[in-house]
Amino acid sequence: MIRLLLRSLRRNVTESRTLFALTVVGVALGVASVVAIQTLNQGSMQAFDGSVRAISGQAELSVLGMTPAFPETLLTTVLGDQAVAAAWPLCRTEVAVQGFPGLLLDVVGLDLLAPVRLPVAGRPTTADQTGGPSAGGMDGVLAALTTPGWVAVTPALAQQQGWAVGDSLLVSSGSRTAVLVLGALVDFQSLEPLAPRTLAVMDIAQVQARLARPGLVHQIDIQLRAGARPEAVAARLQERLGPGVQVVTPEQRSQDAQGLLAAFRLNLTALSMISVFVGVFLVLTTVQASLARRRGEFGLLRCLGAGPGQVVGLILAETAVMGLLGVGVGIPLGYWVASLNLATVSATLTNIYVLAGLEKLTLPPRVLAMAVGVGLLGAAGGALGPALEMARRDVVVLLAPVNLHEQTGRAARRLGWAALGLATLACGWFFLGGSQATYGGFIFGGLMMLALPLIVPLVVSLAAGRARPRGLGPALSLRNLAVRLHTSSLAVAALAVTVSMLVGITLLVGSFRTTLISWLDVTIRADIYVTTESWARAGNEAFMGRDLLADLRAMPEVAAVEEQRRLQVRTWPEGRRVWLNGIRAAGIPGAELVGRLPLQSGRPEQAAAALQEGEILIGEPLSRKGGLAVGDTLRLAGPLGPVAFRVGGVVYDYTSEGGTGFVTMETLLRHFPDEQTNNAALFLKDGRQVTAVRDRLRQEYLGSPLIFRSNQDLRREVLAIFDQTFAVTRTLQWLALLIAVLGVALNLVVQSRERSGELALLRSLGARRQQVFRLFLGEGLAMGVLGLLLGLGGGVGLAALLILVINRAYFGWTIRPSLPAGDLLLQAGLVLAAAAVAALYPAARAGLSRPDQLTRDDI
């Protein structure tokens, strides 16, 4: 049997090179989609874990603030626990490096006397042999403690930026600047390969004094004595340290980040699965075509005593080889696609989720195993149906001439009913409670996407039946789709599913973008926005100096300055991360705060009064995820314990997926007594001066870490981040379209072989090569049109599901449906053009058919 398998394979490859190649490429693209997404998904978590392990790899417990920073005096309490062998505080902040646009260092302030092993490389910094804290022993530690601005960076970063030990770096945290001296190179990546390249280590006291705030730390890492149970110690410490902090294991931190990224990752995974789904159609097409051609061969095998199991085994084994080849091509391809998207995903992680960015990718064994599984199961899934069909058939039937398309034609109606049944079941389940299930929206969408291909044979046969040919034109092309319904339906189905995804996501993104633009129109009302280079990453800890704010306020062109403090806090007792925005409003008539926070529920005048009375306006995602409405109470973990806010209104909010609450600065300071400003917005006396004032500010503060954006600049930047967030989605869309278009090509190649008799007949009746070519091109276009029309229907349904169900459940945003007509028209044109291009080769091949190829079995 193995010898037979090898010979069959060899014959298949040599006789059907195009079919074989198209199938392998189809499987490869499906596998590539999964590998790309899973590599990025895993990478996003590994980047976080790598960052944690590089610094806290030896810690068994960590104390984290419920607000970003907490008093370092808590260290004494931690050390007082008998089970604690050692504990050391960390102060972390992100700083921008002046002169290196876009470069931010993840600075970790450490107690250099703590028992933390750091792999230090490089030469000492000064003539007195000062080196890294570990390499240089006590001398090194002394240098790190006493050299002003001593910092150690990774060798990789130093090499990339051309830095050497001894160099000075001007860095900024918020509007504050400091000079750091490169004291040593610390190879975190030897401890943890996925540690960020931008990690930098300083003495904690120096970080507090120069870049953060004295007396406050962000984390305390703990090593336990042998035999101590982490859970028990964590519970004890939690009780002693109070509600302002939480004591967690490294695993809990990882789970927290996973939860933060869950929706983002789930969406990408679902999209990548559509590519696999479409790839399965390709395999199905090839296997069916191959089996239809070789049915006599299988009939003979059965006559010679081969059992159904052997026939199925032979077919599946042949397909598995194609699957494996597809996996072999798909893994490097997927990795390459992931690499191309590294920067955009990294930007999304940092911009939207404020997590460590992705620097490099690895291919974990889990992803490799998934790729092999998807490739093999996808190929086997495509082959199983036709293989079982072949094994079930009577030997006599196998050996007789067959009109497979006639059987498929009869099956079309049955499949149509099955599609209707499945869609009804899915709707019934969803609307009678399934929508409440965790993955309800995805399951419903998946079932509807399964129903779509089932209805395709009926639609194709009805459309073909209604075509009234009057020549060798489009109508005959459409009619011809019914000739080999079993293959043309698969190609149309693959295209329909892909177009559904394309249209669904285009409608979602287009609607989201339009909604966002409308929201920006209302919310971005100041003339100039001032922030700092480190704000994008450091957020909480990037402050603007009071002097700066006073200077801005004193400018003759400035009517008023609005200040914003943005704080990441946690809900109580759930511990969900949310943002709290404290706003000191400028009090400009016509630009009142409530007017710029469009209300979803509640009345403007009441909301305005509520804000002044210390209540909170919450963003829609927080309202949905926390189940909160106007009048409810939102509890947040404050520095001294839970803080309760009455919800005075729910506002449309697209600033974060986790949710945001808005309070006045006075209310914020009452509960979180830490007066700082992260960003400022300037209202000018004369709105026509925006560009001039912005340019003057840029000139005046040249060399400072301040960023001045006009209203329009900010809008453009927000939209650029929005577009960047969907960059991976677009890659997936095009990958799936490529697979579907391959399906059209594959189907027409199959048809040009299976319909050689019909083509020979046309040629004998005097049809020119160009006529046959145009006929096939028309068939490609007909498949494109049908796939497009069905896909448009499916896409509108999918968009409704994404906008009204999945988006609301996972992200919590209201998106107002809109029709991005230009994008849709462009995509429709591209789909049709792609279908036509896919038809070129098969059409040219069909045009080469000769009239003397007509044989008795052909038609």
């Binding site: 009109n403 398309h405 006639e406 073909a464 040919p469 009057r470 020549g471 060798l472 005959l476 009619r479 011809n480 019914a482 000739v483 008799g757 019909e758 007949l761 046309l762 040629r763 004998s764 009746l765 005097g766 049809a767 020119r768 090569r769 006529q771 000769r850 009239p851 003397d852 007509l854 008795r856 052909d858 038609i859």
Partner: protein, 234 residues
């Protein structure tokens, strides 16, 4: 006036260039057919009958010699010109009908008109007329899968006659039919072709059917031997 529709002069056809050298299928064949006449070609399997038909249809080009159709030397024409000539001057009837199952009876008949790019209205009307003459007018909208073998061949004959070709070539047109149906079909074919002023060249294994032609030629090992026909001879 020259009434010759088809003329083969000293036609030799060889296939292959293998170690054994080319295989000669036809060897110096001379044959001519005048307008309004029928010619039967008989011979054993492999004697070269189908090759001769392919040469007459311009599907193949002879290794040596010339083929003239309607006064034009088609063996000297390009493939595209031969194809065009086939579309307008020839009708073809096959043993296995070769009707397209996804088209209706009427559409199958109209197919040569579509290929030739003729206006739909005229083609459609002509197809209905022809179907009426073979007794299938009421089946024009049916799929061909519903027809019997004899009915299918009648449709194929209508298709061959659609554009009023000067010559109809029929390759064993009754080979897939029982004797009685075969005889009926053959009579119909001859009557229709000759009735429209065309000529008929057909290949058959049956001496009885061959006898209905004006001329009978026998192919034996690629060489032709002719004799006057039976009931149709002048």
């Amino acid at each position: 006036m020259d009434t010759t529709v088809l003329e083969l002069r000293r036609v030799t056809m060889e296939y292959g260039q293998g170690e054994a050298g080319p295989r000669r299928v036809l060897d110096g064949v001379d044959l001519s057919l005048s307008r309004g006449r029928s010619l039967a070609l008989v011979g054993r399997s492999g004697s070269g009958k189908s090759t001769l038909l392919h040469l007459a249809a311009g599907i193949l080009v002879p290794s040596k010699g010339t083929v003239h159709l309607a006064g034009q030397e088609i063996s000297a024409l390009s493939e595209a010109r031969r194809t065009a000539l086939r579309s307008t001057h020839l009708g073809l009837v096959f043993q296995f009908f070769h009707l397209l199952p996804h088209l209706t009876v009427g559409e199958n008949v109209a197919l040569p008109g579509w290929v030739a790019g003729r206006p739909h209205a005229g083609i459609s009307q002509r197809a209905v007329q022809l179907l009426d003459r073979v007794g299938l007018a009421d089946r024009a909208a049916d799929r061909v899968g519903k027809l019997s073998g004899g009915e299918m061949q009648r449709v194929a004959i209508c298709r061959a006659l659609l554009l009023k070709p000067q010559l109809v070539l029929a390759d064993e047109p009754t080979g897939s039919l029982d004797d009685a149906t075969g005889r009926l079909i053959m009579d119909l074919l001859r009557d229709l072709v000759l009735g429209e002023g065309g000529s008929l060249l057909f290949v058959t294994h049956s001496r009885e059917l061959a006898a209905t032609a004006d001329e009978i030629h026998t192919l034996h090992d690629g060489c032709l031997a002719g004799m006057p026909g039976g009931e149709g001879s002048p």
